[in-house]
Assembly symmetry: C2
Homo-oligomer: 346 residues x 2
Amino acid sequence: MSMLSEKPHRRYNILTGEWILVSPHRTKRPWQGKEEKLPSFDQPAYHANCYLCPSNIRAGGIKNENYSSTYSFVNDFGALLLENENESFENGLLKGKVEKGICRVICFSPDHSLTLPLMKVSDITDVIRLWKKEYKELGERPEINHVQIFENKGAIMGCSNPHPHGQIWAQSSIPEEINKKSFHLKTHFDKHNRSLLIDYLEQEIKADERIVFSNDHFVVLVPFWAIWPYETMVIPRKHYQHIRQLNTDEEAAFAEAIKVVTTKYDNIFETSFPYSSGIHQRPTDGNEYSEWHFHMCFYPPLLRSATVKKFMVGYELFANPQRDITAEMAAKTLKHLPEIHFTSIE
Amino acid sequence: MSMLSEKPHRRYNILTGEWILVSPHRTKRPWQGKEEKLPSFDQPAYHANCYLCPSNIRAGGIKNENYSSTYSFVNDFGALLLENENESFENGLLKGKVEKGICRVICFSPDHSLTLPLMKVSDITDVIRLWKKEYKELGERPEINHVQIFENKGAIMGCSNPHPHGQIWAQSSIPEEINKKSFHLKTHFDKHNRSLLIDYLEQEIKADERIVFSNDHFVVLVPFWAIWPYETMVIPRKHYQHIRQLNTDEEAAFAEAIKVVTTKYDNIFETSFPYSSGIHQRPTDGNEYSEWHFHMCFYPPLLRSATVKKFMVGYELFANPQRDITAEMAAKTLKHLPEIHFTSIE
Ligand SMILES: O=P(O)(O)O[C@H]1O[C@H](CO)[C@@H](O)[C@H](O)[C@H]1O
Ligand SMILES: O=P(O)(O)O[C@H]1O[C@H](CO)[C@@H](O)[C@H](O)[C@H]1O
């Protein structure tokens, strides 16, 4: 359809209720601006100066366990703390309140040289099991009403250590992004008694224009309203509110989907592809949230090459997110890339 | 007050209705991550390969005027176009529509080596006059309902040419950021018959904790809910809906405020300080918008030094904006920095 592939247009995000601007004709623009440094795949399996490697000593003086699979601990410089009393500030127009929370670091593997696409599916399954455990334990604490699992991969995404790891920030308030999604999931669920994402998946599978990969339990697609050039969503086929509902087979299928999408990412520009990823799921404040349908999103910044990213700046910050290549173009590229990592193809 | 200066807390943005997370204790975190390249002040006044310098030929083959003050033209690779017919797409859950618009480039000076803080106040006044003219001419077109004036300064903010320039993206839809602000400005105006920003200014002037600079007609402050480390707002003391209402004295005062804040920025780390700035004002769809109170915001990414920025990544993208230094700390630093550019102090 020519409007969606050729003309500047806006698309509606059914999960957040926001519009984004798409400018497909703009891909012809030359680029003389900033180029990023290439990340290196050349990491040793153990690095004496890495504060995440097994048995090494961290900045705070604590020694890591000699772990052989996954490993998690409280961030030594967490943005959230648990100990403060509830307190609030109100003065005329201004409002603030103490935020309680816990920041945890989640090591994906003892091997410093790996990244998710280079890990075995069974080892990614261990990461998923750790996420489930953390989501449960953190979520059950009375002060914690939301658990945000995420990963910043690559220096360009603010990650200061290549050792494979992610983070969890668990807190007492429900963050803005979650409130937006809860609202739109609930509106649909209240009206149709069905999950918005079940209906969306059905439509996407029929259209088959934005699907990147699927297995028995998960679908990976570029959402119609994607903002980041190669943004994807990993959606369970079942209407699950949170990751704890996954059974063993489903865990493995989730791990496979993560491995495939991150491998395809590395294969786009034959580089260690940077991204931020995150899992959005039911808040842990004790409410039912039957409308929630968990999903994982990948927001990767690279646009033109391994060194040129999409800048989310002036217009995007002051007005509206904007993208150049369409979701369909990105999905087509991703779909046809091999599921085998470029470094292991002879 | 100890909560606001020492404990993790959330603050409410009265203009957008969103909360942000502030983690004052986190400034002690060591940084081993990405460092940016230092920008250079060493630009010639004229550059033969710059497509913005007077009389040079642009990518599209068009020759720039031999301009001596400001200069504007339609972006050769604009993200928005005017010619398309209205068209919309609706299929099940998915919605899209053609977006009409115009992208313009605004050269601030013929001198390739300058930036706003290095320009004379009278020359910045010429830029303001050009913004007024563009806002009028674009806004009067029937297809244009919103005019976004902005600048991306520095390679780190996606700016691909150091020649001093900004942009305007004018379009038929009203962008998301504007809708949020319109809503909160209107709620306050309907209730109190006063501008929200008049009331906010009054409170900030009394508290005098976040004011960076002021003159007869403008106040520069770090908003209580700032997201970016050294974010500022430039607010007219009068309840003006848009920049066209400024008289000659007020234009000069606005220019002075811009010069002072951008000079202080350069002085923080003795570098050409990157930022995206933008003017938020009344949409141009013909409605009254008595509640609107125009203001200019600066979103600068640098946090720790001339080469280390704040990364808005995993948690920020998936959950909530987050900052480390408080608005009060940033305002104190900015307030006490000289108003004279570091390169001109002997
Ligand atoms: O100045 P340019 O090359 O038009 O583009 C720059 O600003 C635009 C508007 O904020 C962004 O969409 C681009 O990502 C950025 O590189
Ligand atoms: O991994 P770190 O060092 O904790 O920090 C990184 O991720 C955080 C959460 O997205 C951000 O707030 C920081 O700006 C970023 O550098």
